[in-house]
Every structure is written in structure tokens, then in C-alpha cells.
């Protein structure tokens, strides 16, 4: 009888559930193999890799690399700020990454105006990322005017995406 109780206790101690319970009870468990600060909630750092791989990681984890604007606008709407806040978290999680912000004008803009407003939009995004804690030297801006009319295929038609800023990992 006493033997059997001892055996049961030993079996319980050896089983996984018992070990887990013991860990919960004793707050001295230290996660091993981790020396970096924890990333912001919901964001793990990207694996080291080429800019293209980092770009994919940015798109996957921040939900996108492009924000859009109204015809003459350079102000960020709620969708843009949400996307950029996620991009800022990605940048904070990947402190080695540098980005170039590529501003674009619309197809109906004159060539000069498209360059000017592309520059203005890229700088609006830059200001927002800095406000979220990203260090200014990690961000450069550029303007492609209307020289790179981004397009997406919707069904059979090609639609220009126009006024936008694309965050490109360098």
C-alpha cells in the first residue's frame, strides 16, 4: 500500500503535466537562448536575408508596404496611419533595416506637379514613421513623379494605382 502510493507519486512527478504544474508554481523559470529584447506585441524580427526577403517580411508582418492618397492629398488617412504604424513596429523590430520611401504622383498630374507631390507624400510618411520612434537616418525619401505608374490587374482590366508611397527596404 505505501509502496504503491510512492510509485504513483513518482509516476506523477515524471509525467509532463506534473512538470508543467511544478513550473507554474515556481516562478524561477528562465527562458533560455534568448538575449535580445522582446519584440513589440505581435511582431517577431525578420530572419536575416536579402532586401527582397526583408521586403516580403515587411509586407507579411505589417500587412503591406504601400499607402494611398487622394488626388492632391499628402495627408494620411486612418487606413494609411494604421498601415504605417505596423510598418513602424516592423522597423523597430528590425533595427538593422533601412528604408527608402518612394513617393508617386497621379496620372492626371502634370509631370512637374507629380514630382512635387510625390516628394511631399514621401516626406509625410517619413514624418509619421519618425513620430512612431524610427530613427531619421534609417529613412530616405524619393519621388518618381508619374514615371512609375503602378498597376494592378483587376479581372481583365489594368488599373493604375496612382498617388501612393511605397516603403522599400534597402
Amino acid at each position: 500500500m505505501r509502496h504503491s502510493k510512492l510509485l504513483l507519486l513518482a509516476a506523477a512527478l515524471l509525467s509532463g503535466s506534473a512538470v508543467a504544474e511544478a513550473q507554474v508554481r515556481f516562478p524561477v523559470i528562465i527562458p533560455l537562448g534568448r538575449s535580445q529584447p522582446a519584440p513589440p506585441p505581435g511582431m517577431a524580427p525578420a530572419p536575416m536575408g536579402s532586401p527582397a526577403m526583408l521586403q516580403s517580411d515587411l509586407v507579411m508582418k505589417a500587412g503591406g508596404d504601400t499607402v494611398y492618397f487622394s488626388a492632391h492629398g499628402a495627408t494620411l488617412d486612418a487606413i494609411a496611419t494604421a498601415s504605417l504604424a505596423a510598418q513602424a513596429r516592423w522597423l523597430l523590430a528590425n533595427p538593422f533595416a533601412r528604408v527608402r520611401l518612394e513617393g508617386h504622383g497621379g496620372a492626371n498630374d502634370s509631370r512637374d506637379y507629380a514630382l512635387a507631390i510625390g516628394d511631399r507624400r514621401a516626406n509625410a510618411v517619413r514624418d509619421f514613421l519618425i513620430s512612431q520612434g524610427v530613427a531619421p537616418p534609417r529613412i530616405s525619401t524619393s519621388s518618381w513623379g508619374k514615371e512609375r505608374p503602378g498597376t494592378v490587374r483587376i479581372g481583365t482590366s489594368i488599373v493604375a494605382t496612382g498617388p501612393r508611397v511605397v516603403t522599400t527596404v534597402e
Partner: protein, 438 residues
């Protein structure tokens, strides 16, 4: 090219011209009947142009006719039944036979080979009714430059008949486009206004935009877009020199020469604010002309250099504004619907051409410099980037075919009328047009 004739002979004809110019204005838009027989030659000899002087004489008269046909200022008299003038008759016309074909003007001339291998081309414009010489011009040209002499002869007739400034010895600079519309290859190119002597000035590696001629058509200010960093550069056409206007790192675009060719107005973006500045072409610091927190861009000088028209979105949308060339007295001049862009001040100083985008359409038009009397001359899905012909009679612009997305150049009379295509080897945009001077 040198003018080899004395100009003193022009004094008397100029007095006569004053009268004929007034007549032409009253009679406008009546075209002038002009007779253009083949040029003569003192002695038919071989030249380095691939034909004899007689062959060149015919080619030159053909080119003069082709030039004048591009305007609506002339009706060509039928010279097929008229005796071709002999060499001595070039300076002593048989006026009665030109009256018999109802010509008002006669353009005759000669081509001679010189001992130094060059050619002498002379041309004369006569008033057939009064029997007076109106103009004469002479050029010593290398054989491969005979087209320039022909263009200058056509200009002599055009200036006398229309009272306008010359336009045929001119060049069009533009951006040649090829490749996919999503990321086109864009090269700086130039050609004579009739398409001859086409050459590329930049390679395929760098996207380039908005060439603007210097007033003498010897330099081109343009924008290179390496890596999305717009920067104004100056290309020297004769020496093949090419340099940035500002130190590296500055964001600059939308260049425009002042009428004396000494200064460039342009947009510089500093701290995310695009403003208009002006600076000496050959060195010196930029002077800031606008200071609004809005976008100010696309400057274009008035022909006397005293004012600048530009684009600003300080009202919320891009509109046209005029200011003195020191930046003072800024005032809005465009109040129609839609967005205005790409203003260009006319050579006579009276009007400003622009592109106006409204909904899905983009139109090219012009307005008086105070914003009144707006006149749309073309409307298409994408008619943009207007520039004036050197004499101000026409507007050249870019037009995109919505089906193929190919962009090409076209021209239209400044007062409106038939749109004609300008042929280029590839797609084409951003035209600039200037008369050569040397």
C-alpha cells in the same frame, strides 16, 4: 554659318515691308500667293552632299516649299508652266511672268560651290506686284548643312509674309519613350523641326524628363531621375557637355531658361516644401522666389524676362499664378474648373499655354496673361505638356493613345484647328521647340 551679304540693301525694303505687314494684318487670314521656282546655280559641279549644285538647288527649293506648306500663311503658285529663272535672273526677276501666275511674292535663289568645299546659298524675296526686293539672305554652309540654309530661306519668306518671327531653322527637344508603360525607358532626344538630324543625347540607363531649350537652342536644361532623386542638369548641345546645375543631394526639377539665357528658374524641394528659385546658369547661389507652404512649380518666363507664370496648389488644387521675376506681386490667373499645369508663356508675350485636367479629360489651351479669354484648342484623354513654336503660331504637345498607351507629339495652330502628328522614331513626350541662332 555666316551672313555674307551686306545688310544695307535692306533699309529701303524695310520701309516697304512696313506697309505690306499692315496690309497682311488687315487681310488676315488670307494666305499669300508665293512662287518658288528651283534655285539656280552658276556652274553645275559635284559637291560633298552627294549631289551636284543643280541637284542641291532643286532639293533646297523642295525643302523651302515643304517648310512653307506646314503653315497656312501661303498658297503656292503653279510654276510648272513658267520658265525656270536663269542664274542672272535670280537678282533681276522677270516680274511679268510671275504676275501671270498671280504670285504676290517670289522666292528665288542660287547654290554655288566654293573653293573651300563649302556652298554659298543665296535667296531673295521679291514683291512681284511692285517689283521690289523685300529681303535677301546669304549663307556659307558645309555641304551637309544645306538644309539649314533652306530653312533660313523659308524663314525669310515667312517673316515677310506673316510679320512673325522665324521658325524653320529650329529644333525640337523631347523625351523619347520605349519599353513597358509601367517603367518606360526615357531618353533625351532632339531633331530639326521637320524630323531631320534626329539624335539621342542620353543613354537608356537614367530616366530623364522635361527638356527646355535655352533661347539660342544651344543648351538644354532637363531633369534626370536617378533612383527617384530628381535633379536638373544642363546639356550643351554643341560640345556634348552635360553637368548637374546644383550640388548633389538637392531635389530640383521643372527648369526654365530666362529669355537672355543667363538664368534658370526651377523648383527646389527643401524640407518637403517645393518652392521656385532662380539662379545663374554658370554658377551662383539660388534666389528664392516663392515661400508658400504649398507646392510651387513649373515656372516659365515672359519673353521680356520681367514676369514668371507658375503652378501652385495653395488654393487646394494646382492653378496658374503670375509673379514678377523677383517673386513679388504673386496673383492667381486661372479660375476654370479642374487642375491647371505646365504653363508656357508665348513668344509674343500675349498668352500663356497650359494643360488643363478635368475628370477623365486633359485639354491643351491658352489664356491671356491676366487669365481672361481662355481658349481650349485640343481635348483628349491625355493631351499634355504644351510648348510654343518659335513664332508663336502653333502649340506642340504630347498626346497618349488610350488603347496602346503610346505617347506621341502633335501640333495644333495656336488659335485652334487641325491637329497634325509630329513623327518620331519612338514614343515621345515633353516637347520644347526653339529657333537656332548663330
Amino acid at each position: 554659318m555666316t551672313i555674307s551679304f551686306s545688310r544695307t540693301a535692306l533699309l529701303l525694303p524695310l520701309l516697304i515691308l512696313a506697309g505690306t505687314a499692315a496690309e497682311a494684318q488687315n487681310a488676315a487670314p488670307t494666305a499669300t500667293v508665293i512662287a518658288i521656282p528651283p534655285l539656280a546655280t552658276a556652274k553645275n559641279v559635284d559637291t560633298d552632299a552627294g549631289t551636284t549644285t543643280w541637284g542641291l538647288a532643286n532639293q533646297i527649293s523642295d525643302l523651302i516649299i515643304a517648310d512653307l506648306k506646314t503653315t497656312d500663311a501661303f498658297i503656292l503658285a503653279d510654276v510648272s508652266k513658267v520658265r525656270i529663272p536663269s542664274y542672272p535672273e535670280v537678282t533681276a526677276p522677270a516680274y511679268s511672268q510671275w504676275r501671270s501666275v498671280h504670285a504676290k511674292l517670289l522666292l528665288s535663289g542660287f547654290v554655288n560651290a566654293r573653293d573651300d568645299g563649302r556652298l554659298t546659298v543665296g535667296c531673295y524675296v521679291y514683291d512681284v506686284q511692285t517689283g521690289r526686293e523685300l529681303a535677301r539672305q546669304g549663307f556659307a554652309v558645309s555641304p551637309n548643312e544645306w538644309r539649314r540654309a533652306a530653312h533660313r530661306c523659308a524663314d525669310a519668306a515667312y517673316v515677310k509674309a506673316s510679320g512673325k518671327t522665324p521658325q524653320f531653322d529650329s529644333r525640337i527637344a523631347y523625351i523619347a519613350e520605349s519599353g513597358r508603360p509601367e517603367s518606360p525607358t526615357k531618353r533625351l532626344a532632339m531633331m530639326d523641326f521637320d524630323g531631320a538630324n534626329h539624335i539621342f543625347l542620353t543613354d537608356e540607363q537614367v530616366t530623364v524628363l522635361t527638356p527646355r531649350w535655352s533661347p539660342k537652342a544651344d543648351r538644354i536644361a532637363y531633369v534626370s531621375l536617378t533612383g527617384g532623386a530628381p535633379q536638373v542638369r544642363i546639356a550643351d548641345v554643341s560640345s556634348s557637355g552635360d553637368r548637374p546645375l546644383l550640388p548633389p543631394g538637392s531635389v530640383s526639377f521643372a527648369p526654365a531658361f530666362s529669355p537672355d539665357g543667363q538664368r534658370i528658374a526651377l523648383t527646389i524641394s527643401l524640407n518637403a516644401n517645393s518652392d521656385i528659385y532662380a539662379l545663374p546658369v554658370d554658377g551662383g547661389g539660388p534666389q528664392r522666389l516663392t515661400a508658400s507652404p504649398a507646392i510651387d512649380t513649373s515656372p516659365s518666363y515672359s519673353p521680356d524676362g520681367s514676369r514668371i507664370v507658375f503652378v501652385s496648389d495653395r488654393s487646394g488644387s494646382p492653378q496658374l499664378y503670375v509673379m514678377d521675376s523677383d517673386g513679388s506681386n504673386q496673383r492667381r490667373i486661372s479660375f476654370g474648373g479642374g487642375d491647371y499645369g505646365s504653363p508656357a508663356w508665348s513668344p509674343d508675350g500675349e498668352r500663356i499655354a497650359f494643360a488643363r485636367s478635368q475628370g477623365p479629360l486633359s485639354a491643351v489651351g491658352s489664356m491671356a496673361v491676366d487669365g481672361s479669354n481662355e481658349r481650349i484648342v485640343t481635348t483628349g484623354p491625355n493631351d499634355e505638356e504644351p510648348a510654343w513654336s518659335p513664332d508663336g503660331s502653333r502649340i506642340v504637345f504630347q498626346r497618349q493613345d488610350p488603347a496602346t498607351r503610346r505617347t506621341a507629339l502633335a501640333m495644333v495652330p495656336a488659335a485652334g484647328g487641325e491637329v497634325r502628328s509630329v513623327l518620331t522614331p519612338q514614343g515621345a513626350s515633353d516637347p520644347s521647340w526653339a529657333e537656332r541662332q548663330e
